[in-house]
Point group: C3
Chain length 470, copies 3
Amino acid sequence: MAKAIPFATLIIFFLVSTAFAQYQTGQQSQQQQIQLQEARQCRIQRITPSQPTQRIQSEGGVTEMWNEFDDQFQCAGVAALRNIIQPNCLSLPNFSPSPRLVYIQQGQGLIGMSIPGCAETYTSGQQSVRGGGVRTRQGEQRDQHQKVHRVRQGDIVALPAGVAHWCYNDGNEELVAVSVNDLNNNANQLEQKLRSFYLAGGHQQIYSSVQSAQQQQLQRVTFQNVFRAFDENLMAEAFNLPVEVIRRMQQEDQRGFIVRVTGEGMRMIRPEEDEEYEERYQSRSANNMEELYCHLKIRQYLDNPKEADIYSKQAGRINHANGQKLQILNYMDMSAEKGNLYPNAMHAPHWTMNAHSVFYVTRGHAHVEIVGSNGQRVYYDTVNQGEMFVVPQQFVSTMRAGSNGFEYVAFKTSSQPMKSPLVGYTSAFKAMPIQVLANSFQISTQEAQNLKYNREHQTMLLPPRAVTSS
Amino acid sequence: MAKAIPFATLIIFFLVSTAFAQYQTGQQSQQQQIQLQEARQCRIQRITPSQPTQRIQSEGGVTEMWNEFDDQFQCAGVAALRNIIQPNCLSLPNFSPSPRLVYIQQGQGLIGMSIPGCAETYTSGQQSVRGGGVRTRQGEQRDQHQKVHRVRQGDIVALPAGVAHWCYNDGNEELVAVSVNDLNNNANQLEQKLRSFYLAGGHQQIYSSVQSAQQQQLQRVTFQNVFRAFDENLMAEAFNLPVEVIRRMQQEDQRGFIVRVTGEGMRMIRPEEDEEYEERYQSRSANNMEELYCHLKIRQYLDNPKEADIYSKQAGRINHANGQKLQILNYMDMSAEKGNLYPNAMHAPHWTMNAHSVFYVTRGHAHVEIVGSNGQRVYYDTVNQGEMFVVPQQFVSTMRAGSNGFEYVAFKTSSQPMKSPLVGYTSAFKAMPIQVLANSFQISTQEAQNLKYNREHQTMLLPPRAVTSS
Amino acid sequence: MAKAIPFATLIIFFLVSTAFAQYQTGQQSQQQQIQLQEARQCRIQRITPSQPTQRIQSEGGVTEMWNEFDDQFQCAGVAALRNIIQPNCLSLPNFSPSPRLVYIQQGQGLIGMSIPGCAETYTSGQQSVRGGGVRTRQGEQRDQHQKVHRVRQGDIVALPAGVAHWCYNDGNEELVAVSVNDLNNNANQLEQKLRSFYLAGGHQQIYSSVQSAQQQQLQRVTFQNVFRAFDENLMAEAFNLPVEVIRRMQQEDQRGFIVRVTGEGMRMIRPEEDEEYEERYQSRSANNMEELYCHLKIRQYLDNPKEADIYSKQAGRINHANGQKLQILNYMDMSAEKGNLYPNAMHAPHWTMNAHSVFYVTRGHAHVEIVGSNGQRVYYDTVNQGEMFVVPQQFVSTMRAGSNGFEYVAFKTSSQPMKSPLVGYTSAFKAMPIQVLANSFQISTQEAQNLKYNREHQTMLLPPRAVTSS
């Protein structure tokens, strides 16, 4: 009996520890669920500007992804990635259930979108081949396809949800494209998770600095070739092609999602350089969504100083791409702005009334302060080139450019974002009577006057203090 | 002491097992919550076409319900049911917080909707009775009510959220109506759960093949007579009626929710057969929602070959009911299509860019393949008459009709759904330059050419392979 | 050995109880999560009309808050509060991520909103001060600011999300303002939780009748001074002000969020009394959101008998403020109604088709019955002055005024709410053919006739029974 007791306690120990372990597992995943929930509701303690944490190496380039489970991205409901496409390489056709804005950080290329119902009225000259297509008198065969868009450094490009698109680098340097997907968008009826459905290509080996098995699993879910899964005979019948061709189209592909182009044919594709054509259709009311999308402009140059929405000789400039300027953004409910701040210039403290803002630093560095909904600083430090950070809706933030200036592109989750600054010509304080300010802050009317008018000649961007001479 | 030990361990055992059991209970319900969450986010491993699993027998017919907790319906955010109304029987007045599309699979009937603020300008002749109403010269009393709509086999009918409606089978055969409610719709500010608020009638016995006590509880929550719960004296005062009448109106009703009509009066109700009247009001901008709804057409015949949106002499046809054709759908953000495929014809592989699709097989069978967001098949098998299945947004699917052809109606969670096919005149591949395809799939330009143009004369519907002669 | 055993069991006991306790903690918070979830989905067993449960005492008034975790408010997705501002006191500038409707229950005051981009074209005369501003010939300095709105008892005021606003009581009695924030509104991309971001002021001591430490924490999160958190040097630079001024602006403020005004200056602020100016801009299509908001009317008098939307000499009246009358409500997707019922008059049993309704009793009491989605009464009792209660979308409710009459204001979560009554001129039953009613309720055609027509001369409001003489 006395011997049996330790055994009994052993069993109990086992049971207890099992229950406890299982309980902890349940607890943990529950904990994670709650953390996720908290982050999605922007109950954020601290913003952490970050570099991409995942990396997919392809034959013709690299796809770098920011950790979408990072609190700040969960709060904004976005996923961010950076594609680096080598010269003469092609990012394979894919589509996504959420709308995407792309900023071309470097290089140039061609982007094509397949919008069902739009006419294939754009032709490319190419070597004569046997069979279909349109043949010219010279025996040269001309391929017909939908519009191809020229994109260059400084462009913002709008990719609506569900539209298959590809991108080809026809320049001489790397094409670097930074993308933000709005996962919370009404267009996305699937989950709040980045998904790209590829029509071709496949995974190669994945390199990642910080990556657990779980993250690798998540990554596999994020990018997938959907064409490969289909029955080869069914596809052969659907395409009216020999099954061997389908089999080749579906075979394991070690090139990844960005591939090197063989032959010279791609260089013959002509983009639609004349954007005036598109403009003319902007105001026409289209019969249906397809037709509407066919004629909408999808890109805007964000770096043109002459088109700056806010300009200060001493502080810098801001260019907007919103629903008024780029009509397609109204249907996507996203927008962007590009800011160029001169050395030591400031962006006025402000809040965005109706959108989250996802900042990507394109050049230089800045000192940034963000104050959260609980009245506490969630960030007060430097941000550097290549980093991304989120300023949630209503959070108050300010930025001071470093000694070399500061450039950023900010992606926003509204097509008509409204910024309310505390300082300057359009400031919330300037809109208030002096007595309201004097009584609010217990300052003299003279001080309240200064609070209102000391910066009245500046809008959003403030020159360095020493420079101001009022 | 030695005796005390087993007792102590017994107590421990008891505590452990209690804690463990309770933990498991918590774990389970948590598990269920997470499963539900997963399904709602369309993280689906497998689609399972299904028949209704619940059945409410009423005096005048049967209500059959699909299991709304099935992963596929949770993903699409819809609930489906099939009403079978016997001749001369009435589906009692009810309303629901989510909009509903109804497909009349068989028979004919009358549908009335009570829209507050619309005029009661439709009259029915009936026997003279004492009291109110409009009396004609002949002493015959004519009842005034709102518009009554004639519905017939092949019609799709739109029922906006919150509108009380009834349906009467005035034909000689069973009226079979298949309905899909869009629970995720913006109009529904309650939970993602089917609810019908009945103004009359009540539960009879419930028959169900697979039904737990929990499911029965859920069912009781789904359909309820709300009028019965009110205080009889309050109602007597509200209606200015004797309390005995209210008491009779509220009494337990064993007839269920579909009742047999007594007397001949119902046959005298005149539907508004002239739909041109409605059309005329379509473009007028109404002052308010009520007035807007008063004049909108609520039904469309979906089986008219002459009005097919897509037609192929060799493959079949597709008819659409969307926001352009049936304006009320714009306010409901739902739509439908009817497909009739000839034997062995195919529906091109495609994805729907902005909507989930809920398919109901009205005739025949088909071989269906659906590829999910993780690049895996979620379905690859036959679907049969009477079954329902969901193709989530962006999932790629294709269907090949069986040897007797295939007919379906698909309900969609957008008023302007856009399908992007891989094959045919409007295909994503045809919109791309040949060189993009050749490089994407590592095929020759000739093969890419064939990929683009082999099906260029077909749109969405593909004739059986043997028939194609290019 | 024998001694070791109790010790072993003791350890086990400890482990078990620890695991159990931790498990229970997890269980509890999970339980709370599930309860919250249930409430948010309006699975409500019982509605409980309530008074505010929290109270923040400020120097110049009191802020009283209803418990936003109450099931009924979670279901409606709203948060309610009541501000009492003493004469010559100022509610400090603040903004919120969700839109707010305010009903002025008592007193009068001035409300200012800072809308970025709107012109500061309204001037106040004031004592001459040194420095900036506009100086008139008389040496008097005139302050320029944005429009200031006069509000009086009976007004409903619309405050869009993110707009900084302040309120000054320039009358001789307390200004009492009841506010409802629509947290579930599309404009709010943060959590379903009331948040007010104050630009000035701070917490004083908090008084609360029923308040746990957790609640106090929540309250601290709800109202916060965001200006105080910013680095003083950064702000000095941004505002181009001496750092001492910023330091004073940021110092701990024991005055709370409503402060006593010093000096006479506030009395010189001129409200824009002429609303016709605003009206003229109503139909103009604005270039952007800012401009649009600049010219929209933000208030409407809800207590004008001459403008009643529903009027009965014997029963009372209802005034609506919806998107048709007050255009800004279309952008906020909220609305309100004011009901004045005579003694013993009834509001017809009805359901609101597309909105939750948040009732606040402004005078008298009523007997209210609410029937929920499961066909059970969720309320059947009296509601009294100062209480708030929610009638969820589709729930059927009726009210009978007490012996002194009954007045309420109802806030709604749609800009175009539609009520479907069971009784009266616009009733669901009156829209149905008599035979449908007779067969639905198994009553005679004569009784069905009475059901339809006994109240045909009344709309929504029903006179006491004894009074009706038809």
